[in-house]
Subunit: 151 residues, 4 copies
C-alpha cells in the first residue's frame, strides 16, 4: 500500500475496520445499534429507543443517547486503522426522545493533529430534529483494528 | 410540612423520591445499577461492568460509564422532589475499566440557583481509583416524583 | 416588517445589531478585536496576539484565545436582535499561539430551539491552522440590542 | 532534595514557582489579577471587574471571568514545578458579574495521573456567591518554572 492511500483505499480500509470493530463490540449489539456507514473521519449509526432505555420521566435516558453518539464518535475516530480511545466528551440535550424514536448519530472529524482528534456528533430523530449535540476528544494509542498488511 | 423542612425531613423525602424514581427506571434495572444511597444533593450508585458493556478494545464502553455517572447525577438533582432533567453533561475518562470491575459513582451538588443546578460526579473502581469525572447541568421542569402531600 | 423577514432584511438587522453592540463593548475595544463580519447565526472576528496576552510559557494565554472565541459566539447568537447571554462554554486548545499571530474566530449556529442555542466556533491563525475549537450554549433573555421599530 | 519532599518543601516550591511564573505573566499583570495564595494543587487569585471588562449588556464579559478562572487553574497545575498547559476547559456561568465586583477564583486539583490532571475552579464574588464554575484539563509538557536544583 502506498504511503498516501487513495481516497478509495481509505474508504475500503474504514469499512474493514468498522466491520472488525463491530464483531467485537458487545455493547453495540446489546443496544441494537446499527453501524450504517463509515468513511474516513465519518460514521453514521442508528438505534431505536426501546422501553428499557427510558428514564423515570418516561423519556429517553441520557445515558443511551450518549452511548449512541459515543459509538458514532468511536467508529469515526478509528476509521483510519489507528486505535483511538475517548479522552473526554460533552453532550448537550436539546429535545427529549420518546419510546420508539429512531435515532441517528452522525460523527464528523473536525480536527486531527498529533495524537489528538476532535469529533462532532449530531443526534437526530426520525423527524430530522436534532435532539442532542456531542463533542468528543480522541487520544491515539498503540495498535490497529485490522492487521496492517491485510488490505 | 413546614416551609423549611428539617434536615431529617429532607433526607426522608430524598429517599422516598429515589424509591419512586427507581420503580419507574427501566434503564437502571436493565444495566443492573444499584441505587445505594440518596440524600439532599447527593447520590451514590454502583454497577458491575458486564461483558456486554465492553467496547471493541475490550475495555468498558464509555457509554456505560457515562450512564452510571448520569444516573448518580439524576438521583441527586431530583432528591428535593422537584423534577429536573439534564441540560448538558461532560465526562473526562482517566483510567480504563475492565470486565468485572465494580464501579461506584458519587454525585454532589455544587451549585443551585433559579432553575439551574451543577453537579459533580466521581466514578471510582473497586480499588478506589478515580476512573472518570463527570459534570452535569440540570434544568428544573414542572412536576414532582412523589405527590407533594404524601410525606 | 413582515413576520418572516427576508434574508436580506435579516442580514441588515444582524449588521445593525453588531454595530450597536460594538459601540458598547469595552472589552472588544480593549483587546483590539475587530468585528469583521456578522450575518444571521454567523460571526467572524479577528485579533492580533499582543505581548500582554502571553502567559508565563511565552505562548498565547488561554484566556485571550477564549475571549476571542467568546466574542464571535456573542455576536453570532445576538444577530437576530434578541438578547442572548452565555450559559456555558467549552474550549479545546489544539496548537499554541505565538506573539504577533493574527487569530480569526468564526462562529456558526448549530441549533436553536426555545430559549437555547448551540454555537460552534473555530479559531485559526494566519496560516489557516485551527488552533482551538469552542462550543457555546446561549440562553435568551429579555431585551434587544437595537429598538424593535428602528429598521 | 529527597525523592518524596515533605509537605513543607512542596509548599515552599509551589510558592517559588508561582513567584517565577508571575514575573513572566504579562496577561496577569495586564488584567490586574492578584495571585493570593498557591500551594500544591491549589491556587487562589483575585481580580476586580473593571469598566473595560464589561460586555455590551453591561455585565462582566465571559472572557475575563474565564481568564480569571484559567489563571487559578494554571497556577495550581504548575505548582509542582513541572510545566503543564491547558488541553481543554469548560465554564458554566451562574450569576452575572457587575462593574466593581471583586472576583475570587479558587482552583483545586481533582485528579492527576500520567501526564493528565483535572482541576476544578470556583469563581465567587465579594458576597461569596458562586458566579461560575470551571473545569480544566492539564497536559504535562517538558520543562520547569524554576531551575530544579534551586530550592
Amino acid at each position: 500500500m502506498p504511503a498516501h492511500p487513495s481516497q478509495a483505499d481509505a474508504l475500503v480500509l474504514a469499512r474493514k475496520v468498522a466491520s472488525a470493530m463491530e464483531k467485537q463490540d458487545a455493547a453495540v449489539r446489546h443496544m441494537g445499534i446499527r453501524i450504517e456507514d463509515v468513511a474516513p473521519g465519518l460514521a453514521r449509526v442508528r438505534m431505536e429507543l426501546k422501553p428499557e432505555m427510558l428514564n423515570s420521566h418516561g423519556t429517553g435516558h441520557g445515558g443511551f443517547i450518549f452511548a449512541l453518539a459515543d459509538t458514532a464518535f468511536a467508529y469515526s475516530c478509528n476509521a483510519g486503522n489507528e486505535a483511538n480511545v475517548a479522552a473526554g466528551c460533552s453532550i448537550e440535550y436539546l429535545v427529549p426522545a420518546a419510546c420508539g424514536d429512531v435515532l441517528t448519530a452522525v460523527a464528523k472529524e473536525r480536527h486531527r493533529s498529533g495524537r489528538t482528534g476532535i469529533y462532532d456528533v449530531t443526534v437526530s430523530n426520525q423527524r430530522n430534529e436534532i435532539i442532542a449535540v456531542f463533542r468528543g476528544k480522541s487520544h491515539r494509542i498503540k495498535g490497529t483494528s485490522v492487521p496492517e498488511g491485510s488490505f
